[in-house]
Symmetry: C2
Subunit: 160 residues, 2 copies
DNA sequence: TATATAATTTAGGTATGCCTAATTGAGTGT
DNA sequence: ACACTCAATTAGGCATACCTAAATTATATA
């Protein structure tokens, strides 16, 4: 009934870890079209044995093409999932960076958030990022916000 | 090395579920100073048996006062943790609501985010919420953003 | 007080995911 | 062709966290 383990809050989503693996494979196989156990293990910071196990599961669910001991690649379905995950993540990074979170931390937190937030939340964050991007020139308020972050005082309040 | 299971990304933080339980107990025992297995189970949407197990762990770690079959309450330490978690959460809800996420979803996602984001991220979100709150009158850009959400066009671009 | 009912706990399982150690397999060099 | 090495897989375990069913214990009512 929870999402600590495999199943997510809503049943449409894959487990966080499943998404992580798909995204990793997606990134790693971008250029050549394939990747391998060792690379995935390094990318995700786990041991090859764990990757091996997970790949069997992913293959049986139709997300990757994988014959034991051979190279790994995504099926069209796996690619679709990975792209969604990736897109969510990129938006989140931009968003957090806009708000002044250091890039590196933004990356990490985005990676976590992408897996677990409702689509409504992602939608709003996406809109926000676009809103900022589409703003003509530098949005004044953003500068104000940055100033506020540094000084701790809202610029509009100290206009004397 | 991961955080799917017990241990979190950084070692200071308790597992997500541990925090959930502490927060639940905190909420439920606010008025009377104590709560009970059944209530916690209902609050978290798990079975009493699971709560029972978890309480033993929480007690052995010094977060709750709990003698089998009796009422449950937080130790000062448990309360401290719960309060931190709670504060993080409230900020997140405010933040998401500001960005137009429906209240109910904001609550849920906040509950998830609170457990896993870096403190730097929380800090920035907190600042952002404060920034908005301390803005004199209605911040223009927020209205613009709302308009943008509805129309899909940045108001500043269609000023003719 | 005795008994019925409600609350808890225990026992025994499940699933995810990760790890180590031991094996298996495949490609390379001699 | 054989041995070496490195990659990948299997086997056996661990921890978290949940569940169901069965056994307890408490409480409330007749």
């Amino acid at each position: 009934m929870d999402d600590q383990n495999g199943r997510e809050r809503n049943d449409f989503r894959l487990s966080r870890r499943t998404e992580d693996y798909l995204e990793a494979i997606y990134c790693l196989s971008r250029e050549r079209g394939y990747t391998r156990v060792k690379e995935i293990a390094k990318y995700l910071g786990v041991k090859p044995a764990s990757v091996s196990e997970m790949l069997s599961k992913l293959a049986s669910r139709g997300f990757v093409v994988y014959e034991k001991r051979l190279l790994v690649s995504l099926t069209p379905e796996g690619r679709m999932v990975a792209e969604c995950v990736r897109e969510r993540r990129e938006i989140l990074v931009k968003f957090l960076v806009t708000l002044g979170v250091p890039e590196k931390i933004a990356e990490e937190d985005a990676c976590i958030m992408e897996h677990i937030l409702h689509k409504e939340t992602i939608t709003q964050l996406k809109k926000f990022v676009k809103f900022v991007e589409e703003s003509p020139a530098d949005p004044m308020w953003l500068n104000h916000f940055k100033e506020y972050c540094e000084s701790g005082v809202h610029p509009c309040l100290k206009v004397e």
